[in-house]
């Protein structure tokens, strides 16, 4: 079965510092990869997604992620974080193509940005 592992449950970082949130997935023939963000007391919203093509994917709010097939990773990065980036971040993977198929989520990483 497909699985997703987020290697850090919490990541504390100072404002304006760079950050990387790590995500590894179990290998499959074809996968789609996602990062979602959940701000306090809100639902999840899509940050970015990799479907095909360029392995470097840019998302909203200055975030980007790199798909690395050989290492089965999809790490999320931001060069300079803001207090407002404090949230929980979820990596997710979806098998195959088409409209069906379910998203499998990682355990989540809490990003704590300190002033």
């Amino acid at each position: 079965a497909q699985s997703v592992t987020q290697l850090d449950s919490q990541v504390p970082v100072f404002e304006e510092a760079p950050v990387e949130l790590r995500c590894n997935y179990s290998s499959s023939v074809s996968v789609y990869l996602f990062w979602y963000v959940q701000y306090p007391n809100q639902g999840l919203q899509l940050l970015l997604k990799y479907l095909s093509g360029s392995t470097l994917v840019k998302g909203i709010n200055g975030f980007e992620a790199e798909f690395n097939k050989s290492q089965t990773s999809f790490h999320l990065r931001k060069p300079s974080v803001h207090i407002s980036d404090t949230a929980e971040y979820f990596c997710a993977v979806k098998h195959g193509s088409g409209n069906t198929g379910k998203l499998i989520f990682g355990q989540g990483t809490t990003l704590q940005v300190k002033p």
Binding site: L44, K94, Q107
Partner: protein, 110 residues
């Protein structure tokens, strides 16, 4: 703008009660999902539906059932609520690769 709404943000129920969580989407999406979110466990899929009156079990369906009588509405039912069902419940819908989530319902079972 895409919109997924859930009937309640906060709900408190007693053990043994039958609980209904409602989800409505206005995007004409075929696929709808119910997840539960628990600290340290991420989101786990309870049930999903690809079409009206169709449903499939997710990873943790025990103790839950669902109903989809209309395309826009997907209900999650706790037949007899138990304390271990205290959790955040998230509904989502999609017609493609990306899920759109509702704000969530935080359910407490006493």
């Amino acid at each position: 703008d895409v919109k997924v709404t859930q009937s309640s943000r906060y709900l408190v129920k007693r053990t043994g009660e039958k609980v209904f969580l409602e989800c409505v989407q206005d995007m004409d999406h075929e696929n709808m999902f119910w997840y539960r979110q628990d600290p340290g466990l991420g989101l786990r899929l309870i049930y999903f539906s690809y079409d009206v009156k169709m449903k499939e079990k997710g990873d943790i369906p025990e103790g839950y059932s669902v109903s989809r009588e209309k395309k826009e509405r997907f209900s999650l039912i706790l037949e007899s609520a138990s304390t271990n069902q205290t959790s955040m419940y998230l509904c989502a819908s999609t017609t493609g690769t990306s899920l759109f989530f509702g704000p969530g319902t935080r359910l407490t079972v006493l």
